[in-house]
């Protein structure tokens, strides 16, 4: 026997309580019947027998109670009773309960969600070891703040900079996987053999690239990401050693990377790299001079990203100091022209990855912190007032004999109930916020969109928050339970000044709440204006109703420019025939999607300053592109079907090009050579278009030119294989996705189609960071405003309730309802005005933190400040309106009936 059967009995009695009661009643009835029968057999009349039976049984209700007592589960019973009581007590003041639950819920939810984001974005370790010794190395010069390295720079920094132990290079691109029946376009990278060891990473399966594979014309080899291995190759370990089809070529897989591995630039980029191949640079062929040291003549093309492993004891700062000294020496000795303003620097990998996110995340942190502060202030205020109000109720209970312990238990149960509901709501809110973050977070904010609500995180947050809630409520409960009944009942006056001290404390809280809300809402308002400004910037093209998708033609199937051009001619014709398509073209890089670098040009009649050349952004297009994105033609004509492989070389330039290199001359007819070869066939300028903000809505436009893909393959002879198809449509562009895909499939079913999106989405994505910040601040600002409205409402209702009798007397003496309304509104007014003033002052100081996120609006924009101040005032007024109306209905009879 013992505790187990006791427990079982308690549990089963709890579960089968109803049934047990029913059975007990039946048992007692049966007993009484038998006893009655027996008594009748002893000769009593039916009535007497029945009475005798009942009397000798000793009270059925009493017995039933005793049995129930013996059944066990008494404590659980009492708990349920407490809960029922607490529920009833809270129901009596639903406003209080709902407010506390909402407040706790939003507080817990927001904190949990924010913590999940911070954990994922900032705290989760990067997949490199050791993180503090990994850095990226960049070059910079006039016009480029942070750009690729050349082979010579790579060799020089690897060998000459002592703080750098080793450098690995990588270049990112995309590859078509053509094995199986599902062609797929994935992100790919070429890496040097040492890149993985520089990052401190070993393959999960197989091996990394060998030195031999990393040499020009070395054996072909590929590595795949863990995720691709799982998804496309069914996690088959036998993939190692087997060839896969990359762009129509069979390449053996030598290794699988560990789960979650990414190249440093994959964070905040378009996604993880899935296929890796050796870089196998032919340095000499690239124009570099192989060997250590910096070779001024060569340099080679700047086309590599560099990750460095710092030497033991070295830091990013010491590496940068050394790089600075080295470059200064190059300039001093004339190896490097000073006019290029060349710089080399390293960035710690942590800063590299999380740098772009810190700003928005700190804003978020601030916003949530503020909302949480307000929430806590609200709950604290509410509990305090409730505690004060209940002192008399509790004192009364003590006076009529309630045990102190029971009273405390009751209060704690109430708090637990509140915390329970608050926690549940909090979990829901957190889930909602995280879902929204996953949906809204721009890809440019590294890792934010990967935020998940892990169960452990959620559990911890709920436990912590509930604990905090319980603690805050137990204190007033204990305080209340210690009350001496006589004092409270005596002092519990009917005067108008009850709890003036407590009220003042609460008014201060409300003032702070309003101030904080004003700060947040002003921040949100500034961002709204800023985003509106960004959206109204003239980007030089029109993005509405334009569908885009990326196609890449591998050299295996399309060996030369003629064949690629033929494909595009065919594609344009077929897609143009799709119902709803208005104009169709293609471009190498879409504006606001991919940053565009420049190419050296020789403009006839233009002599660049010493040590400088003329550069221009190179946009390679097919005919139809100008019409599809509506570039504005200023002079001449756009490129069209005349400008094919056989036609005369024709170029369209932008206005910045004309201003920079053709100032004061008629641009049409001018000759331009692409590249540095003076004997190359020149292009003739046939048109001038308005500048396009290609590299960002707020980025400066650079000189640029447009030539057709066909002619570019003739001079300078580069065949552009990856282009984005651009279709201007009559209606909803998304409805053309399926027919356009079908049209492409008709030409070549092997080609994967990637990055299907509208140009509008691309434009929106380019201002994703300020938009995201705006949405966050907007949501939290509204929440703060709502919570402070609740705070105002609470204080005014409190005051009105306290002065109910006073108002009653005034009403009895003939005060008009309007007068009473005015009096009660006045009680909330001072806090509101003070709060708004403090908030505006705080915002004046704090909004400059928004800095870069603001476009075309000053951090102290008077219009925004004024609007928010007015709006907050209105909200506070509305919040006071309800209780004020109640005051106006004060009845003289209340004077007699209080409490």
């Amino acid at each position: 026997m013992g505790w187990f059967s006791t427990l079982r009995s308690a549990v089963s009695s709890l579960l089968g309580r109803r049934r047990a009661d029913r059975e007990l009643a039946e048992e007692i009835r049966h007993h009484l019947e038998l006893e009655t029968e027996w008594q009748r057999r002893q000769g009593l009349s039916a009535d007497e027998a029945r009475q005798r039976a009942v009397r000798s049984f000793g009270g059925t209700a009493l017995v039933a109670d005793e049995v129930r007592d013996e059944r066990g589960g008494r404590r659980i019973d009492a708990l349920l009773q407490d809960l029922r009581f607490a529920w009833r007590s809270l129901r009596r003041q639903p406003g209080f309960a709902v407010t506390v639950v909402l407040t706790l819920g939003f507080g817990i939810g927001a904190t949990t969600a924010l913590f999940a984001v911070v954990r994922t974005a900032l705290l989760a370790p990067l997949p490199y070891r050791p993180v503090d010794r990994i850095a990226m190395v960049w070059s910079a010069w006039r016009g480029f703040d942070r750009t690729w390295l050349s082979w010579d720079e790579y060799e020089a920094w690897s060998t000459e900079i002592r703080a750098i132990e080793a450098i690995g290079l990588f270049a990112s691109g995309a590859a078509n996987l053509t094995d199986g029946d599902q062609p797929e376009r994935v992100r790919s990278a070429q890496i040097t053999a040492n890149t993985l060891s520089v990052l401190g990473v070993s393959p999960a399966l197989g091996r990394g690239f060998s030195e031999a594979e990393d040499r020009p014309n070395g054996p072909a080899a590929a590595m795949v990401s863990y995720e691709l291995w799982q998804r496309r190759y069914g996690a088959d370990p036998a993939l190692i050693g087997k060839p896969i089809q990359i762009g129509g070529e069979a390449v053996p897989v030598v290794g699988v990377l560990p789960p979650g591995f990414r190249l440093p630039l994959d964070f905040g980029g378009p996604g993880p790299t899935n296929v890796y191949q050796p870089l196998a640079t032919d340095a000499a062929a690239e124009g570099a001079v192989p060997g250590p040291g910096f070779q001024p003549g060569g340099g080679g093309s700047h086309s590599y990203h560099a990750v460095a492993r710092l030497a033991p004891g070295a830091t990013v700062a010491s590496a940068n100091a050394e790089l600075n000294r080295y470059v200064a020496e190059l300039v001093r000795t004339g190896v490097m022209p000073a006019s290029r303003q060349f710089r080399a620097f390293s960035v710690g990998i942590d800063e590299q990855v999380t740098g772009p996110i810190k700003g928005p995340l700190f804003i978020l942190l601030g916003a949530v912190g503020v909302v949480l502060l307000i929430a806590c202030a609200n709950v604290a205020g509410l509990l305090r007032v409730r505690g004060a109000r209940r002192r008399r109720e509790l004192a009364g209970r003590v006076a009529v004999g309630a045990e102190g312990g029971r009273l405390t238990r009751l209060l704690v149960t109430e708090s637990a109930l509140l915390a329970g509901f608050g926690g549940a709501l909090g979990v829901a809110v957190a889930a909602g916020v995280v879902a929204a973050v996953r949906l809204l977070a721009p890809a440019t904010l590294p890792r934010v969109a990967e935020t998940r609500l892990e169960p452990a995180l959620l559990g911890a947050a709920v436990v912590l928050a509930s604990l905090a809630a319980l603690l805050t409520s137990i204190l007033p409960a204990l305080q209340a339970a210690r009350v001496a009944p006589a004092d409270e009942l005596k002092e519990g006056s009917r005067g108008a000044t009850v709890g003036a001290g407590r009220l003042r404390w609460r008014q201060a809280l409300v003032t702070a709440e309003i101030a904080l809300a004003v700060i947040l809402v002003i921040g949100a308002g500034l961002l709204v204006r800023s985003v509106a400004n960004l959206q109204s910037i003239d980007a030089g093209f029109s993005s509405d109703r334009v569908l885009t998708m990326r196609l890449s033609l591998p050299s295996t199937w399309y060996p030369d420019g003629a064949r690629v051009a033929a494909f595009w001619d065919d594609a344009r014709r077929r897609v143009a025939a799709v119902p709803g398509a208005q104009s169709v073209g293609a471009a190498r890089l879409l504006p606001l999607a991919t940053e565009m670098g420049d190419w050296g040009v020789q403009v006839e009649g233009y002599v660049p300053p010493a040590n400088q050349g003329a550069q221009a952004d190179w946009q390679i297009v097919t005919p139809g592109y100008f019409e599809a994105v509506r570039l504005r033609l200023r002079e001449g004509r756009v490129l069209d079907d005349r400008d094919d492989l056989a036609g005369g070389l024709a170029m369209v330039v932008n206005r910045r090009f004309v201003d920079s290199y053709l100032a004061g001359r008629p641009p049409l007819g001018a000759q331009v050579r692409i590249g540095s070869n003076p004997n190359r066939e020149p292009y003739t300028i046939v048109g001038v278009v308005d500048d396009v903000r290609h590299n960002g809505l707020t980025a400066e436009s650079k000189p640029g030119f447009f030539v057709t893909m066909a002619q570019f393959s003739r001079s300078p002879g580069t065949t552009v294989r990856s282009m984005s198809l651009v279709i201007r449509t009559a209606g909803d562009p998304n409805r053309l996705v399926a027919p356009v895909r079908a049209a492409i499939r008709e030409i070549d079913p092997r080609l994967p189609i990637a990055e299907v999106r509208t140009l509008d989405a691309i434009v929106a994505g380019s201002i994703a960071a300020p938009r995201f910040a705006m949405q966050l601040l907007g949501v939290f600002g509204l929440a703060a405003l709502l919570l402070s409205a609740i705070g105002v409402f609470g204080v005014v209702s409190h005051v009105v309730a306290m002065r109910e009798q006073e108002f009653g007397i005034r009403a009895a003496l003939g005060a008009q309802p309007a007068e009473l309304i005015r009096m009660s509104l006045a009680t909330g007014l001072r806090q509101t005005v003070t709060g708004i003033a403090l908030g505006a002052a705080g915002a004046w100081v704090l909004t400059r933190l928004l800095g870069q996120l603001l476009e075309g609006v000053s951090p102290t924009d008077p219009a925004t400040f004024a609007t928010v101040v007015l709006a907050t005032g209105m909200v506070a007024l509305l919040a006071s309106a309800g209780p004020a109306l109640r005051a106006s209905r004060a009845q003289p009879s209340l004077v007699l009936r209080a409490d």
Partner: protein, 110 residues
């Protein structure tokens, strides 16, 4: 109600119930009837107090209960002693003998 009556100590009542149940399973009224009969109405206790005692015994696993048809073919709850009940009864009887012997000794010799 005739004859002298006694307030039965809780433990004693339980012991007697267990003892009665060693003969055969019985429902509550049957137990109260036999208790009165055997004790010659000395233990004409409040018949209701039997039920909390039975509930205690149930809870401690000394008896188990079952609904079945009674002798006059009505649904009744029958109680039955368990092996644990047997052991508890033995212990209780030993205890009872020892203390009642002691009480008798005192009454006789003092």
């Amino acid at each position: 109600m005739t004859g002298p009556r006694s307030d039965v100590l809780q433990g004693t009542l339980e012991m007697m119930v267990l003892k009665l149940l060693t003969r055969e399973p019985s429902h509550g009224w049957g137990l109260s009837f036999r208790l009165r009969e055997i004790s010659r109405d000395v233990f004409d206790v409040n018949q209701g107090s039997l039920y909390p005692a039975l509930q205690r015994l149930l809870r401690r696993g000394l008896v188990r209960s079952e609904w079945r048809a009674s002798e006059n073919n009505r649904r009744a709850r029958f109680y039955e002693i368990t092996p644990a009940g047997h052991r508890a009864l033995e212990a209780a009887v030993v205890d009872w003998r020892r203390s009642s012997d002691a009480v008798n000794l005192v009454l006789r010799l003092a």
